[in-house]
Amino acid sequence: MSIVLAASTALMFSLGTYLLLQRRLSRLIIGLGLLGHGANLLLLLSGGRRGVAGIVGSTDGKVIADPMPPALALTAIVISFAVTAFLLALAHRSWQLTGNDLVEDDLEDRRIALLAAAAELDDEELEVAAAAADPSIAPGPIAEAQA
């Protein structure tokens, strides 16, 4: 039983990490959700041996499971629920404003990328490129700006 749980924790962490590295906000949010659930499962696992629920008068001398980790996991689940709702709202706002659901580039990164590109161009091309790729005008991914 523990091995199944441990394996699913590992699976959730690996899938979550993979999705976190994607460019689409929707995948990123699912990835974060998976990571959070993996962590919660780990929290459940930390309680040790399995047993019946520790409710007074219903245990009949059987081994009871440690009630602490589920209590902690419950709190963590509620928190991640709220934050995921907020993230979805934020992603929706981003979609409203940009019309796509891609992660926006870091402005600084884009400026540095432009500097590097500018070093390779000669002056004439440079002016055209600078006019075309003014970061204040068109915020979008590098790929889009270059296309």
Partner: protein, 496 residues
């Protein structure tokens, strides 16, 4: 103690609820916010006085004793941090009231701000690691909302980075809690501290590093700082100021608390922290020099200054940690003040880009003074508090025989001064450049900012007071640090 310890948190949370109910009446919201934070300030001062006189104080929540129940525990460090935070929170709230924009347009500003304050106070006062996680989430969820308040494109873009990186950090925190519980069967900090020595050495180091990552992301140490300079400057000024002053220092507080209480001194961790401290200082200040906007420059300075506090912690001596605490207190005030001044420049001149503004010293001499005093303090020029703090760090570093990292910190200090003079030359001296005239004239604009100027002025006065009372304050920090390195009193209070 039973009432006093939870009071700062409860005042803010009740205030948040009441503020929500008065969503349409801005003046009622303002009164509630001011009363709640003033109550928190008075309670924090009372807690500090009590802990300094009688040692660690404890309050068991819900009548359950530690380690089963959640205990609020305060010592001198928590008291000091809570007092300074309350002062800054109150001043920034007043600033926000005077600033056209966020606070006046958004009914949700006041409740969210108070929840943030409650999270900050709870982080300082809790004695339970899981409760610390909850406090962090309160603080962070509020900060997610504040940083994206307004919903502009740049805010959404940088807010996304901020939310995602903090969520990853929170996940690490849950993992840390799960592993600690699996290894030790407890999440009470004092209990963890007592049981930690039963673990093998390698595992203790692993826990120390995991804690370093969890709190290092919040504190923005190298190499975990990349999200900060990108996300902070886009938020409204008052929000940036409070984030810059407080949130990273909550991370530092947690680092000091966990590395001293939970993990015993270890030479390898100590060396690791010193290397990280040096890199954080250098990378932060170099980033600042490359920037061209007041708010972005100051954001990189947050990172750079965090390095000094990590340096103090990494020494693991009474003098080193005392210096780190004093440094943190000073930074909370300084960073908030400087960012508020940045906001005033933005407000008065229409931009905080150095190439766009200029000659402000002639136009708004008060503003120039408000910037100059904390800027000199940040660079560590005597007789300001920043000098006292840096001197403390350098002296304790030399006493511990860490000459190299001390040399790095001195060089960084010089570069900080250079970058402050860059702001001074660009924004305050020189010709009056492109100043966006508001439609109703500059006087009307400046007339509306009495609370803004007042709040900034009060914070500057506080930072000067930190220098004037540096002697008694520093010895208080030393007492706090002594108690941290010998947590006998803390453990005995929590687990009698």
């Amino acid at each position: 103690m039973r009432l006093l310890l939870p009071l700062p948190v409860l005042a803010c949370l009740f205030g948040a609820g009441a503020s929500m109910a008065f969503g349409r009446q801005r003046n009622a919201q303002r009164a509630i916010g001011t009363i709640a934070l003033s109550t928190a300030l008075v309670a924090a001062v009372a807690i500090l006085r009590h802990t300094d006189a009688h040692g660690t104080a404890i309050a068991h929540m819900g009548g359950w004793d530690a380690p089963m129940g959640i205990a609020l525990v305060a010592d001198r460090l928590s008291g000091l941090m809570a007092v300074v935070s309350a002062v800054v929170l109150l001043a920034v709230l007043v600033f926000a009231m005077g600033q056209p924009g966020t606070e006046q347009e958004q009914p949700s500003f006041h409740p969210v701000y108070l929840v943030l304050a409650a999270g900050v106070f709870l982080s300082f006062l809790t004695g339970d690691l899981f409760n610390l996680f909850v406090a962090f989430e309160m603080m962070l969820t509020a900060s997610y909302i504040l940083i994206t308040l307004g919903g502009r494109l740049d805010q959404v873009r940088s807010g996304m980075t901020y939310v995602v990186i903090n969520l990853v950090a929170s996940t690490f925190f849950v993992v840390l809690l799960a592993l600690l519980y699996a290894a030790l069967g407890t999440v009470n900090m004092a209990d963890i501290s007592e049981r930690m020595h039963t673990l093998p050495h390698g595992m203790r180091v692993a826990f120390a590093l995991l804690m370093f990552v969890v709190f290092g992301i919040k504190a923005a140490v190298f190499p975990l700082f990349f999200w900060l300079p990108d996300s902070y400057p886009t938020a409204p000024t008052a929000v940036t100021a409070i984030f810059a002053g407080l949130l990273t220092k909550v991370g530092i507080y947690c680092m000091i608390r966990t590395q001293t209480l939970l993990i015993a001194k270890d030479d390898r961790i100590s060396r690791f922290l010193l290397v990280i401290a040096g890199l954080t200082m250098i990378i932060g200040v170099l980033g600042a020099i490359a920037q061209n906007d007041i708010k972005r420059i100051l954001s990189f300075h947050i990172v750079s200054q965090i390095g000094y506090m990590v340096l103090g912690l990494g020494l693991f001596t009474v003098a080193g940690i005392a210096a780190a605490i004093f440094y943190a207190l000073n930074q909370i005030v300084l960073k908030s003040t400087l960012l508020l001044v940045g906001g005033l420049v933005d407000h008065g001149a229409g931009s905080s880009g150095l190439t766009r503004v200029g000659g402000l010293a002639r136009r708004f001499p008060i503003l120039a003074w408000l910037f100059l005093l904390p800027a000199l303090s940040l660079a560590g020029i005597p007789p300001f508090a920043g000098f006292v703090a840096k001197l403390g760090i350098i002296r304790s570093g030399l006493d511990a025989g860490q000459g190299l990292v001390v040399a790095v910190s001195l060089a960084v200090s010089l570069l900080t001064l250079f970058s402050m003079s860059k702001i001074w030359n660009g924004a305050f001296w020189g010709e009056v450049e492109l100043v966006v005239e508001p439609e109703d004239g500059p006087t009307a604009r400046w007339g509306a900012t009495v609370p803004m100027l007042g709040a900034t002025g009060v914070l500057v006065a506080v930072s000067v007071a930190l220098a004037v009372f540096a002697g008694p304050l520093y010895s208080l920090c030393e007492r706090a640090s002594t108690a941290l390195l010998d947590p006998h009193d803390y453990l005995r209070t929590v687990l009698p």
